[in-house]
């Protein structure tokens, strides 16, 4: 690869990475990803899917059994962590409890033998960046969780890493603080042009923050793409189910229609034969008078969500379905027991690879 400067000069490429612990199934199984310079890239998946192991291999804390990690043109696989030029933010922050906040932030610079006056300046700037000016002489234990996380962030970015690695950095924070930190991280990412790999099991977090997401399952990448793409076009049952609420409908396909167990026909976006499954997001479902839609349903439960109403519906053939509708839509008919017609656009259902 002839990469000289400009876009992609410091892109991170994982090539066929595999890693097993003991004799069990591989923790990471032949994972290949390319993270562009300046990209906010998330590894998303349930616990045990291999996302943290992948991150730890990039950081150099675990050696892959096979495969390669390249940063730009350089193969960094054999390098120890201290020579990889990565910044890491841990879920439990991993601040040095015996050092002050300023000393924590200065650590990476000291290890790089940066001259003292420059260290002082850069530590001050980094702490200002995470809005912790004035906390220099405190100890980590004297700070709140959110503040500690900001120190961890300052400590990681002060060394200007080629890639910033975040291992569920907001996992230990409460919801409100987490949301605030999400904004701050996003702002930092944009301002500093950081390349980031962000490990999370929180799909909402991944959707709101990332440029691209790799959804992982059992050590493999199930799907990799932009948040919209992952949300709108999940490739299989696992991704569809893991990201947001979804209805998965199984039936017998015949051309452009899916024959449902309840005896109704669901129009398909593309022709198929045999067993097939589609995913349909609850917010795609629209209400209409009974008999006027694709299928009639009975309301079982109507949950008021503030801006919308989440309906638990029962379709013919004992099949359940979720629908999210604006709160004023057909207001009178949303009581349990009411019968409604349901409809959606022909291309709203997404064909799933695993029927």
């Amino acid at each position: 690869m002839a990469e000289t400067g400009g876009q992609g000069a410091r892109a991170l490429a994982l090539q066929s990475l595999s890693k097993s612990f003991g004799n069990g199934a591989p923790a990471v199984d032949n994972v290949s990803l390319r993270i562009e310079e300046g990209e906010f890239f998330s590894l998303l998946g349930p616990s045990g899917c291999g996302k943290t192991t992948t991150l730890r291999m990039v950081a150099g804390f675990e050696a892959p059994d096979s495969g390669q990690i390249r940063l730009g043109a350089q193969d960094i696989t054999p390098l120890p962590p201290e020579r990889r030029d990565m910044g890491m933010v841990f879920q439990n922050y991993a601040l040095f409890p015996h050092r002050t906040i300023a000393e924590n932030v200065a650590f990476g610079l000291r290890m790089r033998k940066v001259p003292k006056p420059e260290i002082a300046t850069r530590v001050r700037e980094a702490l200002a960046l995470v809005r912790l000016t004035g906390f220099e002489d405190r100890r980590p234990a004297q700070l709140s969780g959110g503040q500690q996380q900001r120190v961890a962030l300052a400590r990681a970015i002060v060394i200007n890493p080629a890639v910033l690695l975040c291992d569920e950095p907001l996992g230990a924070l409460d919801k409100k603080l987490r949301q605030q930190m999400q904004f701050e991280l996003k702002t930092l990412h944009r301002r500093l042009g950081l390349t980031m790999i962000y490990v999370t099991h929180d799909q909402e977090e991944a959707l709101t923050m990332s440029d691209r997401i790799a959804v992982m399952r059992a050590g493999k990448v199930a799907q990799c793409g932009a948040p919209r793409e992952i949300y709108d076009r999940p490739v299989d049952r696992f991704v569809a189910d893991f990201i947001g609420d979804t209805n998965i409908l199984d039936g017998e396909a015949s051309g452009l229609a899916l024959l449902m167990p309840g005896g109704w026909r669901l129009p398909l976006p593309e022709a198929r034969q045999g067993r097939a499954s589609v995913a349909l997001r609850p917010e795609r479902v629209r209400l209409c008078p009974p008999g006027a839609g694709l299928v009639d349903a009975t309301v079982e439960e109507a949950n008021f969500l503030g801006d919308s109403v989440l309906l638990k519906l029962s379709l013919p053939g004992e099949q359940g379905m979720l629908a999210r509708v604006p709160r004023h839509a057909e207001a009178g008919s949303l009581e349990p027991g009411a019968t409604l017609g349901l409809t959606w656009q022909a291309d709203d259902p997404v064909m799933l690879a695993d029927a």
């Binding site: 950081a59 150099g60 804390f61 120890p80 962590p81 201290e82 990889r84 990565m86 910044g87 890491m88 841990f90 439990n92 991993a94 601040l95 040095f96 409890p97 015996h98 050092r99 650590f107 990476g108 290890m111 790089r112 400590r155 990681a156 060394i159």
Partner: protein, 293 residues
């Protein structure tokens, strides 16, 4: 030593809390406070009140210790043995404790733990005599040296201070390892990883993070070994071959051959005071070390 804080302890009425403490308190009074006060009293009395009807208050036992350079020298040898033993135990014990605390495999940990604990189950006298056999003129060490042609005649290990320190360190190093590994195991390995990620070599990460954070263990282990070593009796006598005099030996002689309980008590008090002063000084130095929380 280690401060114990009870987080979220259920609240009990004061009186019941005291009741719970009673067994421990009774033990403490019966087996520590009473003997100690008896000893302290004896050290300032002219005679044993059980035998002599009207003992007077006197400071002559302490004066005798301070006047005779022999006793001060013995005290110094005792303290020196304690310090050397502590340092040797720390140097041997720390790497092993680190290994024990950081071993990933359960089997390795179990085997190491057994290796550390097994000698402790043999008893100190047995181990001391094992060292006697090692050190003697026809013992393992001299035999090997002669066989290798490194020495013409046996080296006199017995009776040397170094031999006593080695034997004491061997006997007390498990205390150091157990104390240290407990503390090291509680240090989050992610701290070291964080240091490595920030550009520290594995050596630098150890020196900057793990070592300072294990200071409480170093402190506790050292105090334990020091206290055990300065009060050791059997090992210094047997390995020191009656050539090295320590304070506990003097105390025993005063009791068993001179029947001078008052003087023996005074010697004990002096050893206690010196030990407490050293421990206090050590604590202060360590408290200023970077790792102290």
């Amino acid at each position: 030593m280690a401060a114990v804080t009870a987080h979220g302890a259920p609240t009990l009425p004061r009186s019941s809390a005291w009741l719970l403490l009673t067994p421990a308190l009774a033990m403490f009074i019966l087996f520590f406070a009473v003997p100690f006060l008896t000893m302290a009293t004896m050290s300032v009395l002219s005679g044993n009140p059980m035998v002599v009807p009207n003992p007077r208050f006197t400071t002559r036992h302490f004066e005798r210790i301070l006047d005779d350079v022999y006793y001060l020298e013995t005290l110094w040898i005792t303290v020196r043995l304690g310090l050397s033993t502590t340092i040797v135990s720390l140097l041997i014990g720390y790497p092993l404790a680190l290994w024990l605390a950081r071993a990933r495999s359960r089997t390795t940990r179990t085997l190491l733990m057994m290796a550390v604990l097994a000698p402790m189950m043999m008893g100190l006298v047995v181990r001391t005599y094992a060292w006697l056999a090692m050190y003697s003129n026809r013992g393992v060490i001299n035999g090997s040296l002669a066989w290798l042609g490194l020495t013409d005649e046996p080296i006199q290990f017995l009776g040397s201070e170094a031999a006593v320190v080695v034997a004491l360190a061997h006997i007390y190093v498990p205390f150091m390892i157990l104390t240290l590994s407990g503390v090291i195991a509680r240090i989050d390995t992610r701290l070291e990883e964080a240091a490595r990620g920030l550009g520290a070599s594995s050596a630098a990460a150890f020196l900057q993070v793990t070592l300072p954070l294990s200071m409480p263990g170093i402190l506790a282990g050292s105090l334990l070994v020091f206290a055990l070593a300065i009060s050791a009796y059997v090992t210094p006598i047997v390995i020191g071959n009656y050539n090295i005099q320590t304070l506990p030996m003097l105390v025993y002689q005063q009791i068993s051959s001179s029947f001078n309980l008052g003087f023996a008590a005074a010697l004990g008090i002096v050893l206690l005071i010196v030990a407490l002063l050293l421990v206090g000084a050590y604590n202060r130095v360590m408290a200023r070390a970077p790792g102290a929380a």
